[in-house]
Structure formats: structure tokens, C-alpha cells
Symmetry: C2
Subunit: 217 residues, 2 copies
């Protein structure tokens, strides 16, 4: 059964691959699972038909037969549990890889997304300029700890896992800010993620939505 995911009809980042469907696409490419994409307008995302799939009116969702899932973390974990390639075999190593998924989503991503608040949601407020360094320092506190833990390893805990997939994609959002380059081992880590063939295929697929030239047809 081919799963169906949802994604933005109009890419808010103009095909830079920062939207969260990229995480699901990447996971599906890593495990070699074909998928279909249903594109949604911003208006359609807020309508009852989509709300029935996603209570918060966001993308992506994941439909596979009777199963409907929302939340990127849950979707990627579901894929990782059912196909080889994204979680280690040993029970302890598997639990640790899942811990890195949660670390990406609950410890690293929240301060990173505050950049969007200060730049866009509150970009026109008089405090935006003065708040920016405070927000950046909170991000740096996370990056410093992550950089120390990663050290000179290729991935966070053994082989590439769903934890790395989530962390790399979370960190990608920092690339334009230059903050990632303050931690060369993290910049190299993100580059390793981007260089994976599965990432490249997922990136091309989401870019094709923006350019209108699908690599899949």
C-alpha cells in the first residue's frame, strides 16, 4: 500500500526544503518506500476535511490504509519501525536513537523556531532588534552542547538513524543565519546529512513542487 502524505501547494520557503514534509519524504527515501503527495493550499489546510486528519491544520499528514497520522516525529517513527534503515536493531541503541528524535523536536527545535518569531511574526515590533541576540544565545547554548556531544563522530550515536534525520533537518534552518558555521563539526554533520542520496531525492521532489517540474514523472 502506497502511503499518501500532504505538503504545501505553495512552498513558503520557495523550495528550500525547510517545510516538515521534507522530513517524511527523506525518511521514506531512506527506507525505499514509494509515496504519493497530496498538495494543499493554505486555505485547504484550515478546512474541516484536513482538520479531520490534522487537528492543528498543518502539514504533513500520513495516510496508509486505515491509519491516519500527524506530527512529523510520529510519522518518521512509524516509518522507521516498519522498515529497516532508520533505527538500530539492538533495543538499547534503538531507544537512544528515538531519544535523539525527541531531542531534535523538543530541545533543539523550539529555540531555533524562535528565530522565525523574532524575524517574521514580530519582525515589525520595536523590540525585534534587541531580542535577536537573546534568541541567538539560547540557540547557541543548545548548539554548544550538541557540538560537544557529537565531537568528531559522523552521527549522534553509531550509524545514521531517524534521530540524525530529525536533528539535521532541524539544524538546516540555521544555515542562512551563519550560526551553524560557528560550530564546524555541526556544519559538517548537516552537510553529511544533505549529501545522502535519500536526502537528495527528497529535496529534488519537494523542489519540483515549487518549480513545477517533477523529477518523478
Amino acid at each position: 500500500m502506497i502511503p499518501v502524505i500532504t505538503a504545501f501547494e505553495q512552498s513558503p520557503d520557495r523550495g528550500k526544503g525547510l517545510a516538515r514534509d521534507m522530513r517524511v519524504r527523506w525518511a521514506l527515501e531512506e527506507v525505499g518506500q514509494p509515496y504519493e503527495v497530496r498538495l494543499l493550499s493554505f486555505q485547504a489546510m484550515k478546512e474541516p476535511a484536513h482538520r479531520a486528519l490534522h487537528p492543528f491544520g498543518q502539514i504533513p499528514t500520513y495516510e496508509e490504509g486505515d491509519l491516519v497520522l500527524f506530527e512529523t516525529g510520529a510519522i518518521v517513527l512509524h516509518i522507521a519501525e516498519r522498515h529497516a534503515g532508520l533505527l538500530p536493531r539492538g533495543a538499547n541503541a534503538r531507544a537512544r536513537a528515538i531519544a535523539w528524535m525527541f531531542a531534535a523536536l523538543n530541545t533543539v527545535e523550539p529555540p531555533v523556531l524562535e528565530l522565525v518569531t523574532v524575524r517574521i511574526l514580530e519582525g515589525d515590533k520595536p523590540w525585534a532588534g534587541e531580542r535577536m541576540p537573546l534568541v541567538q544565545d539560547r540557540i547557541r547554548a543548545r548548539l554548544r552542547d550538541l557540538s560537544v556531544r557529537l565531537g568528531d563522530a559522523d552521527w549522534l550515536d553509531g550509524d545514521f538513524s531517524a534521530g540524525d534525520l530529525m536533528m539535521v533537518h532541524t539544524l538546516l534552518r540555521l544555515k542562512p543565519s551563519g550560526m551553524l558555521d560557528e560550530y564546524p563539526n555541526l556544519a559538517a554533520y548537516v552537510a553529511r546529512g544533505e549529501a545522502r542520496p535519500a536526502y537528495q531525492r527528497a529535496f529534488a521532489a519537494q523542489l519540483a513542487v515549487f518549480t513545477g517540474k517533477s523529477p518523478r514523472r
Copy 2:
């Protein structure tokens, strides 16, 4: 084997149960698993011995034989996967319960924790007063969607699950603000969570750390 978790030696909320060890205590109580607690000073949390367990120098951690875990979501999921009582048996229902765990941690908690930023981290800044309603509106957007989805059900998807545990504890932080009372079904949902015997036992145990009168001795 009795797992060992870490918690604050000095409760920052004076025993109100908002620290994240409460989530792990609650999960362990729900499944009837005894546990031990190692208390840490704020200084000890940042030292190498604890950093080896938790890369970001936080609590809680979870040690069980050779396994060391951090991230509340990962710890609660690990407990829920190994004991009955926190995840449904059917594969699809189980995946949906896990989706609610991620929704609590990645969709609802980040805006809720911005209250801490505006009140405490930036409480002395000139913009604190003007930012507060913006932060509150972002929280309300999540609460509104969650309230609609919950409707008049007791729990988010069938029986009580690890997803409800995470969501209830995330929402608890809003109680003092009064925002929860704007959504009576959410206030009742949180009250249902707090009324569970397992919650009560976990709450008493963390309160005892603050009062120094352990209910477990």
C-alpha cells in the same frame, strides 16, 4: 531491575510538579514500576558526570542496567513500550497515541514555554508587557484546536494513553495563567489527568522532595 531517574534537588517550582521528572514518575506509577530517584543540584546538572548521561545538562535521565536515556518523550515511550497501560494494543491506535505524545512536545509545549521566556527570562525587558498578549494568542491558537478535537471525550483518542499523559502535563503549566479555564473541556481534561491515582502518587513523591517528608519511606 529498578530504574533510576534524576530530578531537581531543589524544586524550582516549590513542589508544584511542573518539572519534567513528573512525567516520568507519572508514567512509572501508571504501569506500576518501582523506581529510584537521584537528586541533582543545579551545579551537578552541568558537570561532566551528568553531561555524560544528558548532553544538554537537564533532568530527567533514566538509567536501567546498560541503558541510559534522556528526553522525557523518549523515556516515557520506552516505559510505555515495555509495560502495559500506556499504549493501546492495536498497531494503528498505538501509532496515534504516539502522535499525541509528539503533538504535546512539539506543537503545544513550545508556545506554552514562551510564557516562561516572557515572564522570567525576559521579565525585566521593556517589551515584556507588550509581548505577553502575542505569546498568549499563539497559545490560544493551539488550545482552540485541541479543544475542538477533544470535544466531549475523556481522552484524546480512546483510553488514557502516554499521549494524554504528555498533553495533560504540558497543559498543567497553564493553570496559574487562567488560560486553561477559557476552554472548559480542556480544564476538565487536565483535572481528569490529575485525579488519576498514578498522578497523585507521582505528585506526592515529587512534593516530598521539596518538603523533605518522603511518602515513600
